[in-house]
């Protein structure tokens, strides 16, 4: 699998569209155990991302992701701004100056994004956050590559792992974010950040299929 810069831009456009389609759903999830603005915030952020990168020439994928990260920090009002912003900016680092990337690049990008999120939010698995979708996806990708699976299969398994993580968030108590103030009341509810992360991973899979 080899992805050119222009394709990366197309994928980001698809992500923005998917987030827009799901903004009410994401805000509803967030309203149950948070401040209810996740969908709106993320939609605004990704619209700003597209404005920043749509004219990019695609020659530097790291540059594209860095611009995306900065647009998210500046335009997403909640915790998702610094978290998704840092994720994209960290993902950008290993692909700076690259005009095309392959599966192992993508694996490194996701790994770096995850580390960035953990560093920024001081979170870990089972806090009932986006980490609970992204970590399983990242692990699944590393595993798939090690097994020599085809790119499409690797991404499909990553998507499935992400959604499994989302389901799992219903079974745990929030330890981060506004939901953590609810304690046991957060049980049974699906985390909005994990959901948006899974949607993003799913969109990447669909776009590269």
């Amino acid at each position: 699998m080899s992805i050119q810069g222009k394709k990366v831009i197309q994928v980001l456009v698809k992500i923005s569209e998917k987030i827009d389609e799901n903004k009410a759903y994401l805000s509803e999830l967030d309203a149950a155990i948070g401040d209810g603005d996740h969908g709106l915030n993320l939609n605004k952020g990704f619209k700003a991302v597209i404005e920043k990168i749509k004219e990019d020439d695609g020659s530097d994928i790291g540059g594209i992701l860095k611009k995306a990260g900065m647009a998210l920090v500046s335009n997403v009002g909640g915790a998702s701004g610094p978290l998704y912003g840092t994720a994209f900016m960290k993902a950008a680092m290993s692909v700076n100056g690259k005009s095309e990337i392959d599966m192992s690049d993508f694996s490194k990008m996701l790994e770096d994004a995850l580390e960035g999120i953990k560093m920024r939010g001081k979170g870990q698995a089972n806090d009932k956050t986006m980490i609970d979708a992204i970590e399983p996806a990242s692990n699944s990708i590393k595993h798939g590559i090690a097994q020599g699976l085809e790119a499409k299969e690797v991404l499909k398994l990553a998507k499935e792992a992400a959604y499994k993580g989302v389901e799992h968030t219903k079974e745990i108590i929030a330890r981060k974010g506004r939901a953590s103030y609810l304690g046991e009341r957060s049980l049974g509810h699906q985390d909005a950040g994990a959901t948006s992360s899974a949607i993003i991973i799913e969109t990447i899979y669909e776009a590269l299929n």
């Binding site: 603005d37 920090v73 610094p82 920024r120």
Partner: protein, 129 residues
């Protein structure tokens, strides 16, 4: 004097805290970063950066915040600054109202960042992630 930056998800809260702190310490540089740039509840890295630049001096600055993402955005704002400035800026763990008022008074009598931090220690809430 050490500058004070007040970060809140709510513009009203940030402005109100500044109002209280200024009553106790009218000469201390205090700046706010409350709410988002489009006037909603949330925090904004750009606003925080501006606020830091407004109150920063050789004596440095401290940042007092309300909840979680305020800390993350404050951290990111500091990361954008020059190395020389970064070392003289500290985010402190304290309740936003009581901490800001105490810090303003301490700053007004010439205390440095370390001394202000020590003065706030009994108010630590364990809110730093």
């Amino acid at each position: 004097m050490v500058g004070i930056v007040i970060v809140s998800h709510s513009k009203n809260i940030a402005d109100g805290v500044k109002e209280l702190a200024e009553q106790m310490a009218p000469d201390v540089p205090i700046a706010v970063a409350g709410g988002t740039s489009d006037k909603r509840v949330g925090t904004d890295m750009g606003k925080i950066l501006n606020a830091i630049e407004n109150v920063y001096s050789e004596d440095g600055a401290i940042i007092i915040f309300d909840l979680g993402s305020a800390f993350m955005n404050a951290e990111m704002a500091i990361e954008c600054l020059d190395e020389s400035m970064k070392e003289k800026i500290k985010i402190l763990d304290c309740p936003i109202v009581e901490g800001a008022v105490t810090a303003a008074v301490e700053s007004s009598i010439g205390k440095n960042i370390g001394e202000i931090e020590a003065a706030l220690q009994s108010m630590n809430l364990g809110k730093m992630p």
